[in-house]
């Protein structure tokens, strides 16, 4: 009798286990599906286009439609593969223009990122220390510029920076200068444009890092004999480092390939890889070389992106309590 009961019980438990397992399999499939969607998105809209660009970078320019050869087909696939070559990459190393453009882009992006950090940190700090009630409003104000087209906002800077523009008129009228400053069409204008355009990308991660910091840490540091400025460098800044890294990369990565800002605000002598890329595609109609430029740019940016990833992982490790 007791045995029968035990058997029934075990059967019952097996049944419930099976249905539990069924549910967990269904759950696993649902989980996979949810993950698969973004992966498919990346596959079709990033990996496939990148493969196409990479293939074009291995082709030769030709006066045809499309303007390169070979064009892959089902009948001549093997021949086409044989025709691919790394000539365009070799060309990039032979003409110093490209090297200078890459270096100049990295330099401009690095300086702009640093300037954005210097402008953005105090803003984020002020927001994080503001009364809780007005923080959403301040956040809104940071995001507000996105409501206007990026292109129009950059255009507006021409009106401000040009020799007879708003800034010079104000400075001349107040007597601070007696000759208009030449800012437009220089690197300074590019710095201003990038700092202005990318500021929210710096402020938001900094704000989120600073906002969750416990203020009693600062009080503890002061209590232990630390002056407020020293407390900032020893406690606040190290603890906001994840935000600093995130903000810097969110600004640096797009700034390297920036085209609109150098094109509108920079001078003709300003060398940036985005502009070079544009002129290869549309002025020279040399799609293969332009594609090679794009592939190299991507490889250069993979390094900071990987740095970003590992910094993120470390920050998550730290945050685990």
């Amino acid at each position: 009798m007791a045995e029968t009961t035990a058997n029934t019980a075990s059967v019952g438990s097996v049944q419930s286990e099976t249905s539990g397992m069924g549910r967990s399999i269904l759950g696993a499939i649902t989980n996979r599906l949810v993950i698969i969607v973004p992966y498919l998105w990346l596959l079709f809209f990033f990996l496939v286009p990148f493969a196409i660009v990479f293939k074009i970078s291995l082709s030769q320019t030709a006066i045809s439609m499309p303007p390169y050869t070979p064009v892959f087909g089902f009948d001549n696939f093997l021949e086409s593969v044989r025709d691919l070559s790394f000539d365009n990459y070799v060309w990039l190393t032979e003409d110093a223009l490209y090297f200078r453009a890459y270096v100049s882009s990295l330099f401009i992006a690095a300086v702009s990122t640093l300037l954005t950090l210097l402008v953005g940190y105090p803003i984020a700090y002020g927001m994080a220390r503001a009364p809780t009630a007005i923080r959403p409003t301040l956040l809104m104000l940071v995001i507000l510029p996105f409501w206007t087209s990026f292109l129009i906002r950059v255009y507006a800077w021409i009106g401000i920076l040009k020799p007879e523009g708003l800034l010079n008129q104000v400075l001349l009228a107040t007597g601070i200068i007696d000759q208009p400053l030449i800012i437009l069409n220089t690197n300074i204008a590019i710095f201003i444009g990038i700092v202005y355009s990318y500021l929210p990308f710096m402020v938001l991660p900094l704000y989120s890092a600073l906002e969750k910091m416990d203020y009693s840490l600062i009080e503890a540091a002061q209590d232990l004999g630390c002056r407020p400025i020293a407390a900032f460098w020893k406690i606040t800044f190290p603890l906001s480092l994840s935000g600093v890294v995130a903000g810097c990369l969110l600004v640096f990565i797009p700034a390297v390939g920036e085209f609109v800002i150098p094109d509108l605000l920079g001078g003709s002598q300003t060398l940036m890889i985005g502009k070079t890329l544009w002129s290869e595609f549309f002025n020279n109609r040399d799609w293969p070389v332009a594609s090679a430029v794009a592939v190299i740019l991507l490889l250069i940016l993979v390094v900071p992106i990987m740095f970003f990833q590992s910094a993120q992982a470390r920050a998550q490790e730290q945050g685990r309590t």
Binding site: D214, S216, L217, E219, A220, A221, Q222, D223, L224, G225, C226, R227, A230, K234, I235, P238, L239, Q318, R320, T321
Partner: protein, 379 residues
């Protein structure tokens, strides 16, 4: 490490008019906008004293501590430390250290670096820092955790790191803001005794903020009961418990039965209080108020005897009905309802192993107490 009881017999500087207090709050008021956190408060704390600020949340106890640490300045009045007015002295220049309620350990530093932080600010030489840190970690039994980060420690370990960090600089005064609030009961009890030992061994003045009366009773030399930014009473734990100064203090600390009545007679033999239903309580404790004043007679549950028969002398006795019984092992709680409807709580120590409780629900029972068992409260 020698173990110490909760009451230090030879330590009572507050009773000696010759001794100058170490920390003085002089008519201190602190307002935040319309809210008055501390209201014209005066308080003296003596050197090497373990002083507890006890009160419900929002009574102003944490504000007092923050003003002492230098994070807030009083709106009016002064705070003196060793005779020096603290106004305008920033927290990083005050010879006091604080142990924060949240511990406020620096998450990006190891245990060692946390403890060394204050010493580095002082500009102490490296070998000395290393020596002091090792000494502190040994004191709080965390030597083997020196290289860990705070997030790799348990709650109790973090608490001890915070303690080591705050005493590492050998401050004149250590401020503790709810230091045991985040620990579980057993750990809290152990830590209470550790804190007392530490205070004794280092010879520091401790000011602790707590809402836990048991904690304050266990550790403190004296307790200040705060309510709405004002001091209700400052006294030793025993005085607070046995001779509370007001109805508020009496009911805030421990359990108490209160009988409201008028002071009927007052002479050399004692005092008589007449309750509304005509019952008369005879007490030996005095009261500095004229006859006819509205007073309360307050008596702790353990000082009331319960029995099934009326006491022989019939003094301070009343008949009632057993309303509730709670057997707690070490003692039994009886709630007795008197004829006038008042509920009286009594506790009896179970000194011998109880085989059969003679009293049970709805039994008629008599409560009685000795004339010296309660206090008369006029406030």
């Amino acid at each position: 490490m020698q173990s110490l009881g909760s009451i230090r017999r030879d330590f009572a500087p507050w009773a000696d008019p010759e001794v100058r207090p170490y920390i003085v709050f002089e008519n201190v008021t602190k307002r935040f906008g319309d809210f008055t956190a501390v209201n014209n408060l005066s308080l003296s704390i003596y050197e090497r004293e373990f002083f507890a600020l006890l009160g419900a949340s929002g009574c102003g106890k944490s504000t007092l501590l923050r003003m002492l640490a230098g994070f807030d300045d009083p709106t009016a009045g002064r705070i003196l430390l060793d005779g020096q007015d603290l106004r305008g002295i920033p927290p990083y220049r005050r010879p006091v250290n604080m142990m924060f309620q949240s511990y406020a350990l620096f998450p990006h530093m190891t245990v060692e670096q946390n403890v060394a932080f204050g010493l580095k600010q002082e500009g102490m030489a490296k070998p000395e820092i290393a020596q002091r840190v090792a000494e502190m970690l040994k004191l709080v039994k965390l030597t083997q955790f020196a290289k860990r980060k705070p997030h790799q420690l348990s709650g109790g370990q973090r608490q001890r790191v915070a303690l080591a960090r705050s005493v590492a600089k050998r401050p004149k005064v250590l401020l503790l803001d709810e230091p045991l609030g985040a620990l579980d009961k057993k750990l809290r009890e152990e830590t209470q005794f550790e804190l007392m030992d530490l205070q004794q061994n280092l010879g520091l003045t401790f000011v602790i903020v707590t809402h836990d009366q048991e904690e304050a009773m266990t550790m403190a030399d004296r307790i200040a009961i705060l309510e709405k930014g004002e001091v209700m009473q400052v006294a030793t734990p025993a005085e607070i418990y046995e001779a509370p100064g007001s109805r508020y203090v009496a009911s805030f600390v421990g359990n108490i039965n209160m009988f409201e009545g008028t002071l009927a007679r007052h002479d050399g033999n004692g005092t008589e209080i007449r309750l509304a239903d005509g019952m008369v309580i005879r007490s030996e404790s005095g009261a500095n108020v004229p006859a006819g004043t509205q007073v309360a007679f307050a008596i702790r549950p353990e000082k009331i005897a319960v029995s099934s028969r009326p006491p022989a002398d019939g003094l301070n006795a009343a008949e009632g009905e057993i309303y509730d019984i709670a057997y707690l092992g070490d003692m039994t709680v009886y709630n007795v309802r008197l004829a006038n409807g008042q509920m009286v709580k009594t506790t009896s120590l179970n000194a011998s192993r109880v085989v059969q409780d003679p009293l049970t629900w709805h039994d008629r029972a008599w409560i009685s107490f000795r004339p010296d068992a309660g206090v008369i409260l006029t406030r």
